[in-house]
């Protein structure tokens, strides 16, 4: 069952949301992929060439993104669909977008006031690493680094306003 931790959206200390973001990620992976995520001290972002993003608008504005390498994204898809990883094809982007969407939805449902006051955009997925993301976020974002089946994965929340 999903965690019932609740923090109020009006909290000025967004760093206090970090544990809830991590719980939200872990719940999605445990329930939908039957996968326990590992902890990681330092992470190498250089090979993370698949990025899924979901925009948030309303009481909380920003972007939540999930980044990993292609091998991790293919394995996530394999676990979600129950198919062999070498059978995974074009549905990989859809799958990672859904992971991102569920993390964003699960996270906002844990913050009092956000479940109703914050809307999610459809997911966008970028494959490749030669891009720059310019965000209007006006404060440092929240970032959670974890290991999915020993492969690094980063979830970040850029908050605007």
């Amino acid at each position: 069952m999903n965690s019932t931790h609740v923090v109020h959206a009006a909290s000025e200390n967004h760093a206090g949301w970090l544990p809830l973001l991590e719980i939200s990620i872990r719940e999605v992976f445990e329930l939908m992929l039957s996968s326990q995520l590992g902890k990681v001290e330092a992470i190498d972002h250089s090979n993370m060439n698949v990025t899924a993003m979901v925009g948030l608008a309303g009481q909380l504005c920003g972007v939540l993104s999930v980044r990993c390498n292609g091998k991790a994204a293919a394995l996530m898809t394999s676990k979600m669909l129950g198919v062999d990883v070498d059978k995974v094809g074009a549905e990989m982007s859809d799958a990672l977008g859904e992971v991102c969407n569920m993390v964003a939805g699960n996270f906002k449902n844990k913050i009092s006031g956000l479940a109703e006051g914050c809307l999610l955009s459809p997911p966008t997925v970028i494959v490749g690493d030669d891009y720059c993301l310019y965000s209007q976020a006006d404060e440092p974002g929240l970032q959670v680094d974890l290991l999915f089946e020993e492969m690094p994965m980063t979830v970040s929340l850029q908050i605007q306003g």
Partner: protein
């Protein structure tokens, strides 16, 4: 008894996950139809008989709430139970969905057991 299901979600991956969860939950599915939004679902129902509809809320063209409102106008499907499956978890969304005619509400992420818990009661004597 086997069940004919219609799964409505704009993500093809999520449609497959929902179907897999129904099977893992022990439902005997004789036929599964799919639609990418509410309008497509209404078109499917015009010539397809189903016993159960699982429907997302946030979809392009026609969302799940509007689909629920229009469902009573479809002769084939006016009494078919609808269970919403969505990331939207607020009480107001639940109330809105139920007031539009939905019979159940499952929040993503979910387990096959949660699917079973919400789907079996709405099927009544059909399983």
């Amino acid at each position: 008894m086997s069940i004919r299901a219609l799964i409505v979600d704009d993500s093809s991956v999520m449609r497959k996950i929902v179907e897999r969860s129904l099977r893992q939950a022990g439902l005997d599915l004789s036929k599964v139809s799919e639609a990418g939004n509410g309008a497509e679902a209404l078109a499917v129902l015009a010539d397809t008989q189903v016993d159960l509809i699982l429907c997302d809320i946030n979809m392009p063209v026609m969302d799940g709430l509007e689909f629920n409102k229009q469902l009573p106008g479809v002769p084939n499907a006016k009494d078919v139970p609808v269970v919403m499956i969505t990331t939207e978890g607020s009480e107001s969304h639940v109330v809105q969905a139920l007031s539009c005619g939905a019979r159940g509400y499952i929040r993503k992420p979910f387990t096959p057991d949660q699917v079973k818990e919400h789907v079996v009661p709405v099927l009544g004597g059909k399983i």
